[in-house]
Amino acid sequence: MSLPRRLLCVITDERSDPVELARMALEGGAGMVQLRRKTASGRQLFEWAVRIQELCREHQALFIVNDRVDIALAMQADGVHLGQQDMPASVARTLLDPEAIIGVSVSCAEEAVKAAADRASYIGVGHIFPTYSKDKPSPPLGTAAIKPIRNVAQLPVIAIGGIELKNAAEVIRAGASGIAVISAVSESDDPAAAARELVRMIRQ
């Protein structure tokens, strides 16, 4: 499965009902939804994942699960997103369908090279801007880091971290194929409209 260009990936937050959030994000034109809820039980994740996958199919969007390769396998998600503390992508590749999407979070060239060697489908590069969604001790990478990291990995880049309406276009100009957001959509009073605006901005 190849990644569409100028993609908006909406990641679920720790508070909202993930199915409702996904529904609104998809209405707004998100091309990919990532289910991420560190505190949920396996059963809860599975139930959410089944319903979000259905919604994504209706909207011809992709559905991936953060960290939990087991859940992705059990409900046949389109793929997974793996952080540096998750199962190595090379190992996940042996379990998942050869066509499955495997995204890997990277924050430097070294991790990007490893992700490519591990047969990742894309790299999530970040955090680009300051962000409060995750506790990040390291300074933001800035948009200038996108191109060199993309070039060493030769993989599509989905930029993440502090991306919102005012800087989304800049990230795409800097070489990202897409953007991933949590709070820019989940914290909005109107998540569907927020997603729609972001999509419009990255497709300009």
Binding site: S41, G42, R43, Q44, L45, F46, D67, R68, V69, D70, I71, L73, A74, M75, Q84, Q85, D86, M87, P88, V91, A92, T94, L95
Partner: protein
Amino acid sequence: MIVSSGGEHLAQRGLVQKQAQALARSAPVIFQIREKMLDAASLWMLCHEIAPFIDAAGSLLTVNERFDIALASGAKGVHLPESSCPADTVRKTARGLIVGQSAHSETAALKASSAGLDYLLFGPVFHTPSKAPFGPPQGLEQLQEICEKVRIPVFAVGGITPDKALACIECGAWGVAALTPFLDAGSMPETVNRYLSFMPS
């Protein structure tokens, strides 16, 4: 006999590796990796590292909940908590693995049994600090009722010291599971033997 790994309680570094090595001198057991504090990368690495030792010892390595890690690390089974991904789905997806599940009520036990799982872990039978979050002790009578009603092997868990193992077997349990008595990795083979001495084969 099921031995639950217990590194998370004491944060003893290297405890699980020591337990795995000690299994070489022990009668075969099911060695269940239950390290909820570890991230998936560390858990995979740990299982991948110890799987060959457990195999060579004739024991069975099972991983708590994460059947992806079990499949990828060469473990032989997965142990599902009650609130896991549906057991019948795991059964279909994780082909080749032994699949067991914890049950803390009769309803959950019957459900696991009808999902065609390989075994059930029922408890807590007695009081134990490590199983207190799973509710008050169920007692031997309840254990006996479960053993009569389900069609798969039942392992009793929760406060089961070696001298209490026989009572569980007499209630119809297939075996017992324990964590705390194995925190001293060095004496693991002797502890396993003490349990086995109370359980008629």
